[in-house]
C-alpha cells in the first residue's frame, strides 16, 4: 500500500522523463515537498532510449546517474512509478489529483538479483527497444532502470510462469496479488511534463514504413546503434540482417506538413547529423550517409557541428523532400524526388532509410485530465487560464534535451512561486 503525504504546499510533477526529473529535483533541492509521478515502471523517459546526445556525443545515462543520485539523496522527493493521473480538480494552490497506480507485482524488497528473470520463459516485445528486441515476462526495463526493481508483465499473471517467478525470489519480493491502487493527492501546483512521442511513421504513406522492412525511424536507429541495444550496437538492416552502409536520412518525416504535424520538431536535424556521426564512427570511409532536407536547422553552436558533418565527404546533403519510396528486388529502398537546388531528378538506391520523425505531445489533447490552454499542435500554452498547472519540457513545444531541461527548470520556479505564496 502506497502512503504519501501531500498538502496544498506540495508540488506534483507528472512525468518522469528528463524534464520531469529536472523540475522535481530543482524544486525539491530548494526545500519543497515534491511528488513525481511516472507512468512507466522506471524514470528517464525517452532520453534513456537514446544512444548519444548531440553536440557532445556523450551518453544520456551519464546525466541520469547524477540525477538518480540527486534523487537518492533527497528526502523532499517522493517517486511513484506506474502511476497515471486520472483526474485533476480544484484550482491554483488547492488541487486534488487522482492517481491510478498499476501493479508492478514486485515490492521494494527486490534486490534486482535477477533470479525471477532466469526462470521465466515467456518473451514479449521489448518496448524499451521500440519492439526491436524481446524481453522476459519478468524483467528490469533497462540497465539503468530506476528504481532498480523488477517488473512482472501483467500478461503472465495467473499463469504458472508467474508462480515460477515467485518461487525463484528468495526475498518474497514478488506479490502476485498486488492490485491496482488509486490515490487522491493534494497539491498546490502541478508541473505537466509528460513529454513527447515519435510521430507514427505508418501515417507517412509515401515512405512505406508500413510496407518496407528497411525503412525505419530515427528513434529506432538510436537503439540499433546502442551497444546495449537489440543488435548489440551493430547496424543491421531489418530485412536480411546485413550491415547497412548506404543510409538515407529523410528530414521532416511528418513534420512541417499540414497532412501530419504542422510544426517543426526542432531536434530532428541535429539528431540526423548526429546519426551520420555514428555511421562515420562505425565505418569510416566504408559507409555513406545522405541527408534529404528542406532546411537544416542547426541553431547557435550546433552550426559548428553541422559544419563538421558537412566537411565529411561521406555525408551528402540533398535539398529535397523525398516524393516516394519504392523497394527493389533486394528490398533496397529506392528514393525518388527532385533536388530543388538545380532541379536534379533522382532515383537513389540505399540499403537503409531512416525517417527523421518528429515529436508530438505524448498526451492526446482529448485525454488531458484537466482543461488546459493548448495550441493547435497540442502543446500546452503558457497561459494564466491554466492556473497553477505549468508545462515543463516538451509538453510545451518541440525541444531538444538542453532546451527541455532549461524549460523544466523555469517551470519549477513557476510552481515554487505558487506554493511559496501559500506558505507565506
Amino acid at each position: 500500500m502506497v502512503d504519501v503525504v501531500a498538502t496544498n504546499e506540495t508540488i506534483i510533477v507528472v512525468g518522469g522523463g528528463i524534464s520531469g526529473m529536472t523540475a522535481a529535483l530543482e524544486a525539491a533541492e530548494v526545500g519543497k515537498q515534491v511528488i513525481l509521478l511516472e507512468k512507466r515502471p522506471y524514470l528517464g523517459g525517452r532520453v534513456s532510449q537514446l544512444y548519444k546526445y548531440f553536440p557532445k556525443m556523450c551518453h544520456p545515462v551519464c546525466g541520469q546517474e547524477i540525477n538518480q543520485r540527486r534523487i537518492k539523496g533527497n528526502n523532499n522527493l517522493t517517486i511513484l512509478t506506474m502511476a497515471e493521473v486520472t483526474e485533476i480538480t480544484g484550482d491554483t494552490g488547492d488541487y486534488t489529483v487522482n492517481v491510478k497506480i498499476s501493479p508492478r507485482y514486485v515490492t521494494s524488497d527486490c534486490t534486482a538479483c535477477g533470479e525471477c528473470e532466469k526462470v521465466v520463459e515467456t518473451e514479449f516485445d521489448d518496448e524499451f527497444n521500440y519492439n526491436l528486441g524481446k524481453r522476459k515476462g519478468a524483467y528490469i526495463p533497462n540497465k539503468m532502470a530506476f528504481p532498480q526493481t523488477y517488473v512482472i508483465d501483467p500478461a503472465i499473471i495467473g499463469t504458472d510462469e508467474a508462480d515460477k517467478a515467485k518461487e525463484a525470489c528468495k526475498y518474497g519480493a514478488i506479490d502476485l496479488d498486488m492490485g491496482e491502487e488509486t490515490l487522491e493527492l493534494k497539491a498546490g501546483s502541478i508541473i505537466w511534463s509528460t513529454g513527447w512521442k515519435p510521430y507514427d511513421a505508418n501515417k507517412i504513406q509515401p515512405y512505406g514504413y508500413d510496407r518496407f522492412e528497411n525503412v525505419i525511424t530515427n528513434v529506432e536507429f538510436e537503439r540499433l546503434m546502442d551497444p546495449h541495444g537489440p543488435t548489440g550496437g551493430k547496424l543491421l538492416r531489418p530485412s536480411d540482417g546485413a550491415e547497412a552502409k548506404n543510409i538515407a536520412f529523410i528530414q521532416c518525416a511528418g513534420s512541417r506538413d499540414i497532412n501530419h504535424l504542422k510544426h517543426c520538431s526542432r531536434f530532428c536535424c541535429m539528431a540526423s547529423l548526429k546519426q551520420t556521426r555514428y555511421v562515420a564512427e562505425k565505418y569510416g570511409d566504408d559507409a555513406k550517409s545522405t541527408i534529404y532536407y528542406i532546411d537544416i536547422r542547426s541553431i547557435d553552436r550546433f552550426e559548428n557541428f553541422y559544419n563538421d558533418v558537412k566537411s565529411n565527404e561521406n555525408v551528402e546533403f540533398i535539398k529535397s523532400k523525398v516524393a516516394s519510396i519504392e523497394q527493389d528486388e533486394n528490398k533496397n529502398p529506392v528514393l525518388r524526388g527532385v533536388n530543388t537546388e538545380g532541379a536534379v531528378r533522382y532515383a537513389n538506391t540505399h540499403d537503409l532509410v531512416v525517417l527523421a520523425v518528429g515529436m508530438e505531445p505524448s498526451v492526446d489533447v482529448s485525454e488531458f485530465p484537466v482543461k488546459l490552454v493548448l495550441n493547435e499542435e497540442g502543446f500546452i500554452q503558457n497561459d494564466e487560464a491554466n492556473g497553477g498547472i505549468f508545462a515543463g519540457g516538451t509538453s510545451a513545444d518541440a525541444y531538444d534535451v538542453n532546451r527541455a531541461v532549461q524549460h523544466a527548470t523555469a517551470a519549477a520556479l513557476r510552481a515554487v512561486q505558487v506554493v511559496n505564496n501559500i506558505s507565506k
Binding site: 504513406q205 509515401p206 512505406g208 508500413d210 510496407r211 516516394s324 519504392e326 523497394q327
Partner: protein, 299 residues
C-alpha cells in the same frame, strides 16, 4: 430494402461509348446487390480532366453545378453517385469550390440562370460508386451474393488516380489503397496486394495527345502486374481501363513486349462471381478477352 441513389452515368458510360462495358456490368452488379440507381435525366458532361483549358474554371464548375442542381431537383434525398472517377471528382470539386468561394458561387448561378437553373450549394458530397460498395454495402455485403467464388484468380487491383486522389475512399491511403484487393478477396479471388503500381498514373487524357509519354507509363503498370503473376488487371476507372487495355499492341510494337493481359472493371468481376453470364458482365465488351473470367461465367 434497396439502397437508392441518384446516378450520374457520364459520357463514357453511355450505350456504345468506350465505357459501355462498365455501364452494363455495373447495372448487373447493382441488381445483385439490390442497389437501385436512378440516372439523372438530362445530365451533361463534367468537363473531365482536360476541360480546363478550353473551359476555364467558372464554365467547368458551372456545367457540373448544373448536374448537381438537376439531381437535387429530381432525387432530393438521394446521394449523387458516379461510376466514373473523373465525373465524381469534377462534381465533388465543384461542390467544394463553390462552397469556399462565394464570388464563384454567384457567378456560377448567374450563368445557370441563363437556363433557369439554380445551384443551392453543397447538401451531400457527391460519392463514387466504390464508396457505396465499401461504406454502404461493406465487404461482407459484397461477399454475400457470391455463387461462384473466383478461386485461383490472381487479380492486380489497379486503383489509378482520380478515384483515389485527392479525395479517395474513406480510410484508404493515397499511396497504397486496399479496397480493390479487399473486393477481390471478398469474391474469393487472390488479391495481389503488393502490386506497387496500383495507384500510379496511366497518362489519363494525355493518352490522346501524348501517346508515347503515356504508353511509357502504361507499360510499367502492366509490367508490374505481370511481375506479380496477375491473370488480369481490375480497375474502377473507364479511362484507366481503356488506356491500359487498348494500347497493349502499340506498346508491344514499340518495346518488343508481349503484353496480352485483360483489363476489367470490378463490376465485371463481381457480376461473374454473382453468377452472371459473360454478356451480363459485358465480358464481350473487352478488347482482350478475360478468358479465366469467361470460363467461370460459362460454368
Amino acid at each position: 430494402m434497396a439502397h437508392e441513389y441518384s446516378f450520374y452515368p457520364g459520357c463514357s458510360s453511355q450505350k456504345g461509348a468506350s465505357g459501355s462495358n462498365q455501364m452494363v456490368s455495373n447495372e448487373t452488379m447493382c441488381d445483385k446487390l439490390d442497389i437501385k440507381l436512378n440516372a439523372i435525366d438530362d445530365w451533361n458532361c463534367c468537363g473531365a480532366s482536360v476541360g480546363y483549358s478550353g473551359g476555364g474554371e467558372l464554365a467547368r464548375l458551372t456545367i457540373s453545378a448544373r448536374n448537381i442542381a438537376i439531381s437535387e431537383k429530381q432525387h432530393p434525398d438521394q446521394d449523387l453517385i458516379a461510376t466514373c472517377p473523373a465525373c465524381w471528382l469534377a462534381t465533388r470539386e465543384t461542390q467544394e469550390r463553390l462552397h469556399d468561394d462565394p464570388q464563384m458561387m454567384s457567378d456560377a448561378n448567374k450563368a445557370l440562370a441563363e437556363i433557369g437553373v439554380e445551384y443551392q450549394g453543397i447538401k451531400k458530397p457527391a460519392r463514387h460508386m466504390t464508396e457505396v460498395l465499401v461504406e454502404d454495402i461493406g465487404f461482407d455485403g459484397i461477399a454475400k451474393p457470391v455463387t461462384k467464388p473466383l478461386e485461383g484468380l490472381k487479380i492486380a487491383g489497379y486503383v489509378g488516380c482520380q478515384s483515389n486522389r485527392p479525395y479517395g475512399i474513406a480510410g484508404e491511403s493515397f499511396e497504397n489503397p486496399m479496397y480493390l484487393d479487399k473486393m477481390s478477396e471478398a469474391v474469393g479471388a487472390e488479391a495481389l496486394t503488393g502490386y506497387e503500381k496500383k495507384a500510379s498514373c496511366c497518362g489519363g487524357a494525355l493518352m490522346f495527345s501524348e501517346q508515347e509519354k503515356s504508353q511509357a507509363l502504361v507499360k510499367e503498370i502492366i509490367e508490374a502486374a505481370y511481375d506479380h503473376g496477375a491473370d488480369m488487371i481490375m480497375t474502377p476507372c473507364a479511362m484507366c481501363q481503356m488506356n491500359v487495355e487498348a494500347y497493349q499492341s502499340d506498346i508491344n510494337e514499340k518495346y518488343g513486349t508481349k503484353f496480352d493481359i485483360p483489363v476489367v472493371f470490378y463490376s465485371q468481376v463481381l457480376s461473374v462471381a454473382y453468377g452472371s453470364t459473360a454478356s451480363e458482365a459485358a465480358l464481350d465488351g473487352q478488347l482482350i478477352a478475360p478468358k479465366k473470367l469467361i470460363d467461370i461465367a460459362n460454368k
